[in-house]
Amino acid sequence: MLRDAGLVAAKDLRVELRSRVATNQVVPFAVLVLILFAFALDPDRGILGRAAAGLFWVTVLFSAVLAIQRSFAIEADDDARDSLRLSGLDGAGVFLGKAAAVALELLMLEAVLAVGVVVLYDVSLHDGALLVLVCLLATVGIAASGIVYGVVAAGLRVSDTLLPLLVLPVLAPVLLAATRASEAALATVPGDAWPWVRLLAVFATIYTVFGVVAFGPLLEEA
């Protein structure tokens, strides 16, 4: 299973490397969203600084939807889904590989966005290690649940509109938890971040397990 996961993750990342969709399209999109928030929320009233953590994570969520759609669009190329099924790869391995690839792309995106938020919204960092931990856990949760719902929506004619409807409500608690914990890390709202971190860990674990079990059967259905 892990060997298969490695193969699939490498393949997905290699596709990204060659096509550069995430770097050329998703990252600029994310930065654009940050800028749009500034237009909407009037930078002079100090709202941006206080809302920075929330805006960061909302942007990450929207970008994640794009990244997940892209992950499955790769397989739609000339019916590569069939060849993925035929390949003999273990379903659980494919899940872990795809989720790992998306998670890595999201982490790189978050790094860029973090710089963006610091620069554009003028916030300062209080506890860097906490922020990194929050990002890691939240990203794993987002990637795992995203790939599960991604395969549910994949291959359907309406997949582009169905995926956000399915995955964003599920990610609502991740948004809540990540924002509260990030706020503690940014010290805009001092508070105990640990319950939130635990919630993120639980979410990530549950959806990773769910994905390992459910992805294979879901990929089967044409």
């Binding site: 649940s145 599960v148 719902y149 549910v152 359907l156 004619r157 309406v158 169905l162 409807l165 399915l166 409500p169 599920v170 609502a172 608690p173 809540l176 938890a177 509260r180 319950p195 939130w196 919630l199 639980v202 979410f203 549950i206 959806y207 769910f210 459910a214 059967p217 879901l218 259905e221 044409a222």
Partner: protein
């Protein structure tokens, strides 16, 4: 053909009767609340729909989805029950949110607040709307059922996480004086109000059952129509085959005298 039967007619009458009695109790007999005035009467509608939706409807959807996915108990019936229960559940939640909103307007002065219960309920609403969307997607019916069942499970897993997260975040909901299910028998609920509430729960449960049975039967009938169409399609396909066999394409490689003579 109709989805009614003796059982559902009896059930229907019982539902109507209990709803009528509830309405009478709620609107006429039970007292107005000391603090909330007459607005409290809305709660006889709001609370049962809330509980039924969240626990009964979606519980049934989840259970039916599991039964559908489990190989030993797999049956089309479970898929239909899961879908029907979710539809009724979404209906009830919509009703809960609407009535709750009206009640909130009259007592708290706002149409909406972001407290824990309300927010969780709203997220739940959208989660199950997503489930219903999956059920309606144009795709192979078996594929669709299987995916829907898995989405139901994933949604169910998410529910406690949503509750916990939102609970930690805000806790301003009706501070559980009268309508906290844990304290149903708390002396703070006065006699008639308690009975009205209990009766309304019974009435809405009957309503749920009635709606569910009719909806499942309707879905069953839709499937029968599909099966009949399938049988027709199968017959047509085979006829097409027979026609082609008796007049095959010109086949190069056959000895020339045979072309045309090789068919019956």
């Amino acid at each position: 053909m109709t989805t009614a039967s003796r059982a559902t007619r009896i059930l229907g009458v019982a539902t109507l009767a209990s709803l009528a009695v509830t309405a009478w109790l709620a609107l006429v007999v039970s007292p107005a609340d000391v603090n909330q005035g007459d607005a409290v009467r809305l709660l006889y509608l709001h609370a049962p729909t809330a509980w039924l939706a969240m626990y009964l409807s979606f519980g049934v959807t989840t259970l039916a989805s599991i039964l559908y996915l489990w190989p030993r108990t797999r049956s089309r019936l479970w898929d239909l029950v899961a879908g029907a229960s979710a539809e009724v559940g979404v209906l009830f939640i919509g009703l809960t949110l609407a009535v709750g909103s009206i009640w909130g307007r009259t007592t708290w002065g706002v149409w909406w607040t972001w407290d824990a219960r309300l927010t969780s309920t709203a997220v739940l609403f959208v989660l199950y709307l997503g489930y219903l969307a999956v059920r309606r997607v144009p795709a192979d019916p078996l594929v669709r059922s299987r995916r829907a069942a898995i989405v139901a499970l994933a949604a169910f897993i998410d529910v406690p996480i949503v509750h916990q997260a939102v609970e930690w975040w805000r806790t301003l909901h009706q501070p559980a004086t009268i309508f906290d299910e844990r304290r149903l028998l708390d002396p703070r609920i006065h006699g008639t109000m308690l009975w009205t509430l209990l009766l309304s729960v019974v009435a809405f449960t009957l309503l749920y059952a009635w709606l569910l049975i009719h909806r499942v039967r309707l879905a069953r009938m839709e499937e029968l129509v599909d099966d009949r169409e399938l049988a027709d399609a199968l017959a047509e396909r085979r006829a097409e085959g027979a026609a082609a066999t008796s007049a095959p394409d010109e086949m190069p490689g056959l000895v020339p005298e045979r072309s045309g003579a090789g068919v019956d």
